[in-house]
Subunit: 453 residues, 2 copies
């Protein structure tokens, strides 16, 4: 028997040695049996109903098909709790599963882990085989009907890098180290990875000009973020305490907060970003659960010489394991990359463990005044930039406000902002001693030319 | 036959002399037969289904009941088009009617106007009588499932008044006269008039302090606004041109953008208001249609010595009749008012005709970068303040940042910000020569004490 690290001893789904009877799962970079993320999918080009699915190896377990099989001979395949969760996951959105919170999500995980495990019986394996759809044949939808989308601003390195461009004398606003800053985003223009969007038209004030002008965005940017899907709800007027905040974290995805910097910087005084952000926000299809991320939790340490969080933003559970070490990268592909069959060129790499505030603190802050969250809401982390210049999560940081070239290594091309035809590819993954590597998959989007009005 | 003004000659529903067989409609301050606003309602305390209704006099025409009657003998009561619109309006939200846009809304108006008109036949009157519910017996819900809520900032007087508090040397940001500024709001905490809410807890930096503190809001405020309900939709990436923008205006309500100024002013640099606004936003239940507002349209004139709108924010239709002369008032009632049976004390009065940008310009700006609007979305005008000090739409303006008392005339009490138990009552109405007076009704809300965490 394998000796398990502490977290795995508590939960066999974290055993790094666990194998599946599905060969493609074993050693899969993103989706081994220890991950089991959720998405909404159907076969590409079909008119099938959208339904939830669970990634394993290069396949998707179709929750609608699985729900149709039932528990299979008295719970041999799925417990009644797991089947109930599979039924919630078989709907066209995951809002109902998200509303059911952690118990349903865990029942689903444990049920599928057992059914996919190499020790599952032949009847179970045969039944589950009939529920598999190859990921190569799938297309994805947003996993929920998003009631509200909120974007935070919780990387101190990003705040300093961008602050230097806008406010050279005072890059970090005085509130940054006291609360996780956020603004409301636009839910309607959140799209799933792979959706192309048009370069936005809008109004900007060019440096040295006396009047603003209308035109296509000249400083188009991406922002590397994580997205947090909300589980459960709180009633208006009833804050979620930090100690309970993670009960409302259904899972994590990659998020690209595309930004029109010239429009944004002209419009945002005094009420914040609006058109600079609301033309498109992309999310990766797969939701990585807190259970899958458990081995990658890290202590959340605020250095003693920095302001310590006020009591409502401080709790032992957050200090012990509030941070999550999710490795992240950004790559840019161009028309030339595609013509030459080259993979997108990586331009930065960092980890979410650097973030100045944790997801739990974001949820506690969001609700401290009584704002009500609902299952299926989306919360963005804000751009994730690390301390080194190569760890910046937006091109405005890498190019220092458009003042220097960013090299695309595969082709030798350079960028200061995004050009038409550029594709941005975000990737995320987790690795730690004694744990199986899991991945978040990709979040991609391609810039189409602006259309003349 | 009455001589009608130009707009009424085009549309008999604007004839100020038109009377209803329903006596309470004739001379009603808010809801004469010329108004016919829409809401979602049911009998208070009942478990009835929510459904749309139309206000007339002191009654509500129950659209679900009316849909059940059909056209009544070959269209004697309602045309097929009007009945189809009534059916859309009989649902638990008005999203479907809003999606159908102006043609359905106009068919409903013309059908109901004819059926309620004094010239309607006895069979029609008898049938419609069976569909009336007294407003005194009704409770209201939000009229739509709000996909997204956006709040603009389009009163130059408000911007200057509040700007002086925050940025004494530079009250008006340079972009204000070039574009209608806006930020995304929180859809989940929009509530219908009459919903009480708790004073929010949160973080603020008191003047002269070195550290922020957590506590109940000390500078609680209201904001007098209009809300605009969106009709139809635009696809992501397809802006709505100014000339077509009013096609997407389903109707108008009163809106109170409750604000926690101490929390807001601490949190809002650099990304705008968040918790300072998202604990509660109240809207009046009745939606006043563009058809009812037609007699109160006014030219939209930008003085020659001010920046003229860029081409995408300028169109002949907007110059000719882009403004709407909606009279507005704010009153504050206190526990003492209620104990003494006194009406709330009026603290300000203004008109929406002063606003620096029109609803059509707000819609054109919102979508210029490709942001997609959906039927049932809510757009706030931003605080409506006129040029005189008595025309300010927020108490932070009336009290000059909390530096002077605001008198509540009925009781002699004073306020600098709102206290627990205070009720704010917004009212709106339209009057013009040759037109019947119509009203928007009221938007009310009462402040409950903060709860200790």
């Amino acid at each position: 028997m394998t000796t398990l690290p502490a977290f795995a001893a508590l939960d066999p789904t974290h055993d790094p040695a666990a194998k599946s009877w599905l060969a493609s799962a074993n050693g899969h970079a993103d989706f081994p049996i220890q991950n089991l993320p959720l998405a909404v999918f159907r076969r590409a080009g079909s008119a099938e109903a959208w339904r939830g699915g669970v990634a394993v190896g290069d396949q998707i377990v179709d929750c609608a098909a699985l729900a149709g099989l039932g528990t299979l001979v008295g719970g041999a395949m799925l417990s009644a709790d797991a089947l109930a969760a599979v039924r919630l996951a078989s709907q066209p959105t995951l809002n109902a599963l998200m509303a059911a919170g952690a118990p349903a999500r865990r029942a689903l995980r444990h049920g599928l882990f057992a059914a996919l495990h190499s020790s599952a019986g032949a009847a179970v394996q045969n039944a589950l085989q009939r529920c598999l759809v190859p990921q190569a044949q799938a297309q994805y939808a947003l996993p929920s009907q998003i009631g509200d989308y909120t974007d935070f601003y919780t990387s101190i390195h990003h705040a300093r890098n961008v602050g230097r461009v806008v406010r050279p004398d005072n890059p970090l606003t005085p509130n940054f180290q006291w609360l996780p800053i956020a603004y409301h985003g636009r839910a309607s223009s959140v799209v799933v990875s792979g959706t192309a969007f048009r370069r936005p038209m809008g109004q900007a004030m060019a440096p040295g000009e006396a009047q603003p002008a209308y035109g296509a965005c000249k400083r188009l940017d991406y922002e590397l973020e994580l997205g947090f899907w909300v589980a459960g709800r709180n009633a208006m007027g009833e804050p979620i305490a930090l100690a309970q905040a993670e009960d409302h974290l259904f899972g994590v995805c990659l998020l690209n907060d595309w930004s029109a910097r010239d429009h944004q910087f002209w419009e945002m005084a005094p009420l914040g970003p609006f058109l600079g952000k609301n033309f498109c926000t992309s999310v990766s299809p797969w939701i990585i659960t807190p259970e899958a991320l458990a081995p990658f939790r890290r202590p959340f340490v605020r250095p003693a010489d920095e302001p310590q969080p006020l009591a409502y933003l401080d709790h032992a559970s957050n200090r012990t394991a509030g941070a999550i070490d999710i490795q992240l990268s950004v790559a840019i592909g161009t028309e030339q990359h595609r013509q030459r069959g080259l993979a997108a060129s990586e331009v930065s790499r960092t980890t979410f463990a650097h973030q100045y505030w944790t997801p739990a603190q974001m949820i506690a802050q969001h609700t401290v005044g009584g704002c009500n969250l609902n299952a299926g809401d989306l919360i963005g982390s804000g751009t994730i930039s690390g301390p080194a210049p190569t760890e910046a999560g937006a091109i405005v940081e890498l190019s220092r406000g458009g003042q220097q070239d960013v090299l695309l290594s595969a082709t030798g091309e350079v960028r200061r902002f995004l050009q038409d035809g550029d594709e941005v590819v975000l990737q995320g993954w987790c690795q730690a001693p004694g744990a199986a590597r899991i991945g978040l998959g990709q979040c991609c989007g391609i810039v189409l030319p602006a259309t003349a009005p």
